[in-house]
């Protein structure tokens, strides 16, 4: 019987070896790919098409983003019409379809800056670009498991903003102005939007240090002035003079809140977010206590610039450290004390940025929870 036993032993051993070898083959190759450069060398182009893909220009925020993109294109000595606009109107399907169409048209000779509309859409967009040999930089939306360094050179960079910290700081300014007591209401963005969630969390974090302030209510106002006006009217009916402070998720909401307060003859401190020119004026007039400027002009320009300079080969993304591939955008606080100075420096004359200083104003590597 021993030969049967030996046979079984031999078979088991060889199968184990085979499995081990197989496993090494797979992981080893993957490991090599992880540590070494991508086996497909990225090709660069002399005159890539430069494109920005975004929601639409109706929204002042996106208007600023795209004006930055245009300023960058002009800095190359081109006309601003040389920037191709892909407008997704809030549809991820259209966003992806437009990118694929442009990839086909340009044969992959493309430097693309994009907000993919929602996070899950970032992967198919990036993969389509990488496959076609185009260079892509993303803004705002991507899933946490998608990283530029997994795609060699072609997925150049991702920029986003963490709003929790800045929103917490504006909340502290508000809560201090309220004398650390009373009631605060929050009017938020579209409930499922990440910035809307983060900005409310910022307020909640700040409230932990102010036990005498009650969060009376928090309702979404969909980033919309008219909606915010109505929601604030409802709050005034429900809470009346209990409201001694208003925390708004952005400037557009703040405008509606101010008008609702004005109609009632109420004077309550409010803080907003985004630093739109009109809000900065209102801060200077003392009607808004504080807002946060995220410099969308720079963000829009530098995202296009990163994709372009990688595409023409001025730098090699895969040789850059991680904090140059995924990073937070800048945040600047604006209060009545510095509103005028800010206005002169940033709004009355839009600064001429050095679009090759890719990471100067950025705010460190993106951290995942």
């Amino acid at each position: 019987m021993s030969f049967i036993k030996r046979f079984i032993e031999a078979e088991t051993a060889s199968r184990r070896n085979f499995l081990l070898a197989g496993a090494y083959g797979i992981t080893g190759a993957a490991a090599l790919r992880m540590f070494g450069p991508s086996p497909i060398m990225a090709m660069t182009y002399d005159e890539p098409t430069i494109a920005w893909s975004y929601r639409n220009r109706t929204n002042p925020y996106w208007n600023e983003i795209v004006s930055g993109g245009e300023a960058f294109v002009e800095s190359l000595g081109k006309s601003k019409d040389d920037l191709t606009h892909l407008i997704n109107e809030g549809s991820s399907e259209k966003s992806l379809a437009d990118v694929k169409a442009l990839l086909a048209k340009t044969d992959g000779k493309l430097a693309l800056a994009i907000d993919t509309n929602d996070a899950p859409n970032a992967r198919p967009v990036v993969e389509a670009c990488v496959e076609a040999g185009a260079f892509v930089s993303t803004l705002w939306n991507k899933t946490d498991d998608l990283h530029p360094w997994d795609f060699g050179d072609n997925y150049v960079s991702h920029m986003s903003w963490s709003d929790e910290g800045p929103a917490e700081q504006t909340a502290r300014i508000l809560l201090d102005a309220m004398g650390g007591k009373g009631g605060v209401v929050h009017l938020g963005g579209i409930a499922s939007n990440n910035p809307a969630i983060e900005r409310l969390n910022g307020l909640k974090n700040a409230l932990k240090d102010y036990p005498d302030v009650e969060l009376l209510d928090a309702q979404p106002a969909d980033w919309d002035t008219q909606k915010a006006n109505q929601v604030m009217q409802g709050f005034i009916t429900r809470y009346g003079d209990e409201i001694t402070g208003v925390h708004c998720a952005n400037d557009t909401i703040g405008y509606g809140v101010l008008e609702a307060l004005r109609a009632e003859g109420m004077d309550v401190p409010i803080v907003t977010y985004d630093g739109n020119p009109q809000a900065v004026d209102l801060v200077a007039e003392g009607k808004i206590l504080a807002t946060v400027f995220t410099n969308p002009h720079w963000g829009g320009g530098i995202t296009a610039s990163l994709a372009y300079h990688a595409a023409v080969g001025h730098f090699k993304p895969s040789e850059e450290p991680a904090e140059h591939r995924e990073f937070y955008g800048p945040t600047i606080f604006i209060t009545p004390a510095d509103a005028q100075e800010f206005k002169t420096n940033y709004l009355d004359n839009v600064p001429t940025y050095d679009w090759t200083d890719f990471w100067g104003p950025s705010n460190g590597q993106i951290m995942y929870k």
Partner: protein, 333 residues
């Protein structure tokens, strides 16, 4: 017969029901908290101050809903309101600032200018609809996009602030607790009601909605009345734009947002039938109040806002089901 009476008065009953319903929630809340609360008397919702808030919120929507009521009575539909409101608001703001920036100068001309713009868009709507025989919903939807696009081109995505104290007194000055804009809206409402019930044009809308072939055979110039109807609707859309700017002090491309759902929901919930001939301006007033009482009441009793849209949706469907006898319709498309 009884069914007819119920259908006729249902919208008003719903409104009364809602107005009495929200204070119950307030009473319950205070009761649970152990506070003294006399039903209705201590209600924050059921108060003059809140009535004026609801009225202020509802005025722009009411103007737009009145406009589309005329069209729906004819059995057509006008979906251009969002674009019409945006472009009228933006042109008003530009003209207002260019002509002096205060109502006490030539800038008042911006008001008729905005109404002309609204009428113009409506006129084109009607003309394309009648001449090229394209369904009104398609023409007006497309014209709405054109309006939004134009507004965007004019503003470049910026918002225009109207700071004039005289114009803003629409909101800031109150007579008997209600801002002036509510009285202006009331006046417009009376004019619309007069057009509907005391002019040939108004009666002809019903004639077309009740039976277009019959109206045509009786010698009515249906095409002309349709075009006039769309132009009239455009004027009311522009009035809605003026109210919206008066309320917020800002004209922008987004000024027209959300008016489509609100106005059509108001017309339908008020009991005006979508195939024409039934309903009218008083129904629309009740309808818009239902819509805004719900919006306001939900916030006042602290319900999440996603419920508001859901409740409105259910109300719209219920209203359509109630307002018609299904058996008399052979096709639904």
């Amino acid at each position: 017969m009884i069914r007819d009476i119920i259908v006729k008065w249902a919208p008003l009953l719903v409104l009364v029901f809602l107005v009495l319903l929200f204070p119950i929630f307030e009473w319950l809340e205070d009761f649970r908290a152990g506070k003294d609360h006399i039903y209705l008397l201590d209600s924050r919702f059921f108060s003059v101050r809140n009535a004026s808030r609801i009225a202020v919120a509802a005025t722009p929507g009411l103007m737009v809903a009145i406009g589309v009521t005329f069209i729906i009575i004819m059995g057509s539909i006008d979906l251009s309101m969002e674009g019409s409101v945006s472009i009228s608001a933006v042109i008003f703001a530009f003209a207002f600032l260019a002509l002096g920036g205060t109502l006490l100068s030539w800038a008042w001309l911006a008001i008729p200018a905005a109404m002309l713009v609204g009428a113009g868009i409506g006129f084109v709507n009607g003309l394309v609809h009648v001449v090229f025989r394209i369904p009104s919903f398609m023409v007006s939807l497309a014209m709405g996009f054109v309006g939004t696009g134009l507004a965007l081109v004019l503003t470049g995505g910026d918002r225009i602030r109207i700071e004039d104290e005289v114009f803003r007194s629409l909101l800031t000055v109150r007579w008997l607790n209600f801002p002036i804009m509510c009285y202006v809206a009331l006046l417009a409402l009376l004019v619309a009601w007069f057009i509907q019930s005391h002019t040939t044009l108004g009666r002809n809308f019903y004639a077309i909605g009740g039976g277009e072939e019959l109206a045509q055979a009786s010698g009515l110039n249906v095409a002309r009345i349709r075009v006039l109807g769309f132009a009239l609707a455009g004027v009311f859309f522009a009035l809605g734009a003026l109210m919206a700017v008066g309320r917020i002090g800002i004209a922008e491309t987004a000024t027209g947002n959300n008016f489509m759902f609100i106005s059509i929901a108001a017309v339908v919930v008020g009991g005006t039938a979508l195939w024409g001939g039934i309903g009218g301006i008083p129904n629309t007033l009740v309808g818009i109040l239902i819509v805004y009482v719900i919006t306001n009441g939900m916030v006042v009793i602290g319900l999440p806002s996603w419920l508001q849209d859901g409740v409105l949706g259910v109300l719209v469907i219920t209203a359509v089901v109630l307002s018609t006898s299904r058996k008399s319709i052979s096709f639904v498309k």
